[in-house]
Amino acid sequence: MSDEPPVVARGLVKRYGDVVAVDDVDLTVEAGDVYGYLGPNGAGKTTSLRMLLGLIRPTSGTAHLFGRDPLVDGARALDGVAGFVEGPRFYPYLSGRKNLELLADYDGRGARLRIDEVLDLVELRDRARHRVGGYSHGMRQRLGIAASLIRDPRLLLLDEPATGLDPAGMRDMRDLVRRLAGEGITVLLSSHLLAEVEELCNRVAIIRKGRILYEGSLARLLETASESYRLRALEPERARLLCLAQSGLDDVVLDGDEVVFRAGEQAVADLSVALGQARIPFTALVPSTTSLEELFLGMTEGEPDERPAEAVA
């Protein structure tokens, strides 16, 4: 057992010609973390994970898993590490079980003995005899988890594990990740869904256009994202003027027939009273959930000191 952190990446850069896919990325995942790697599609998440797994060579920078560098130590660097990038892929002409047996033999160390157990865990036992070519997307995703778990990993790297799943499948996948984390497996999970990361992760890194915008605890991140509210009133223009006059409300704008603004909870409570006193009927006054995109905008346009200086340099 190594005391080194599960993931330490420093200054990772990957260039494809003129395109910089990953630009000076630092990541640190500590043992026991459920670490969310958050960013829109094409931000460089998958490329980063490929570098961690030794599938592609960084243009510069280093990646260490439990202190081992895949480029130096080869397959040994992946001891105790499992996962997949860009969706798990299998041999379509072999059965699910045969695929797992193949990978178990590639792994050694009793991986074969865990096959039945993990097939039960991902609820694929009944279909394991069928060829993977006939599997649905969700089944392949679950087989991917199974293939990772037969390695008995201490670190799981999952690239958008819930993508393309139906709502029930997404829920099952998240339950599974939560359960695995509960068993002490460190998880690094990439996602473009804020809700998913919010639900599962304790620490996050946010990447955009190959650069890390934020790395740290999720709680701290959400504090920095100021709450935005939507007000639906019968007389939108009067409502907007009232909002402008209220203290504690910022960025008041009319969006269709709704007034949108940023405010703290107390200011919103005061506003509801003011609306009543001004006899402006309203049907809704709700916090609008901060979307990832809004969060990004907030981060890229916000005060520079909200971000770690080295990450924006």
């Binding site: 490329t47 490929r50 797994l53 030794g54 599938l55 592609i56 060579r57 080869g74 397959a75 040994r76 992946l78 001891d79 499992a82 996962g83 997949f84 990038v85 860009e86 969706g87 798990p88 892929r89 299998f90 041999y91 379509p92 002409y93 072999l94 045969k98 193949l102 990978l103 033999d105 590639y106 792994d107 050694g108 160390r109 293939a147 390695r151």
Partner: protein, 272 residues
């Protein structure tokens, strides 16, 4: 070493689960059968312009040599290319390279397993062709002594030994095609391009050998080594082309395999 064996066994299992394997070995088995059936139905003289063609109807022992002569030009190179050109590229196509390269096997072990499996398939195809041709020829014309290219009579037992030696040295030459296919399969990441490119390479090597003005390099072309086995059919056996085939083929096998190995070790596995 144990790691390579594990990869090799699974590569064989994968080949056994794929249609193209049966297409290749099936062709190697069906061609001699079709050849014998056609000659039996045709009744006339055998092909007179190929080694042993004149004596084809005298003994089934001549059949595998004549079939090999015809298949050696493009049939067996194509059968070889079918798997060698595909075995790395298909991983790209299926997106499975990342699946197997994130386990506990080194890239070198994976590549070695694939090389061994491709060569095994090639050997199986060549020897299956020889065995089926021998059986089909024997059923048609009986098993009698063979007349060598020098005109001497070769007893059946020695003839079978000559056949094994012939298939063996031909396989070494064919491994040059397989090695080139493996390299293309690794570099192009495209199965169809690799199969076609490998066949083109085999044909070009033979074409170069018949062009005027290539006499000086002819002994060192891969295509020339395809005919090295003719030396076994002389009395006494002419070992010069066989020995030359062995060392020339070592280069044709070693260089592309080493190049493919280096590319495989260093390549970025992205988007596949």
């Amino acid at each position: 070493m144990g790691g390579v064996v594990k990869v090799y066994r699974w590569e064989l299992a994968k080949l056994a689960a794929q249609k193209r394997t049966y297409l290749g070995v099936g062709a190697a088995i069906l061609v001699p059968i079709a050849f014998v059936v056609a000659l039996v139905l045709q009744k006339g003289a055998g092909p007179t312009d190929v080694p042993l063609g004149r004596t084809l109807r005298d003994t089934g022992l001549a059949t595998p040599f004549v079939v090999l002569f015809f298949l050696s030009i493009w049939g067996l190179p194509l059968i070889t290319a079918l798997v060698a050109g595909d075995i790395v590229a298909s991983e790209t196509h299926n997106g499975t390279l990342k699946t197997i390269l994130t386990r506990s096997r080194e890239r070198g072990q994976v590549f070695a397993g694939k090389v061994l499996a491709s060569l095994t398939y090639m050997v199986v195809a060549v020897f299956a062709m020889g065995a089926v041709a021998l059986v089909a020829g024997t059923i048609a014309w009986g098993l009698h002594p063979l007349t060598s290219l020098s005109g001497t009579r070769v007893p059946v037992g020695h003839g079978v030994v000559l056949l094994l030696e012939t298939l063996g040295i031909y396989t070494v030459a064919l491994a040059g095609v397989a090695a080139f296919g493996l390299m293309l399969s690794t570099v192009t990441r495209n199965s169809a391009a690799s199969v076609v490119g490998t066949l083109m390479f085999a044909l070009l090597m033979q074409l170069l050998g018949v062009l005027p003005g290539t006499e000086s390099i002819r002994p060192y072309l891969l295509g020339t080594q395809f005919d090295a086995w003719h030396g076994f059919l002389r009395t006494p056996a002419d070992w010069a082309p066989v020995v030359r085939a062995l060392w020339v083929c070592t280069l044709y096998i070693g260089i592309p395999l080493f190049a493919g190995y280096l590319v495989f070790l260093r390549r970025d596995v992205a988007g596949e």
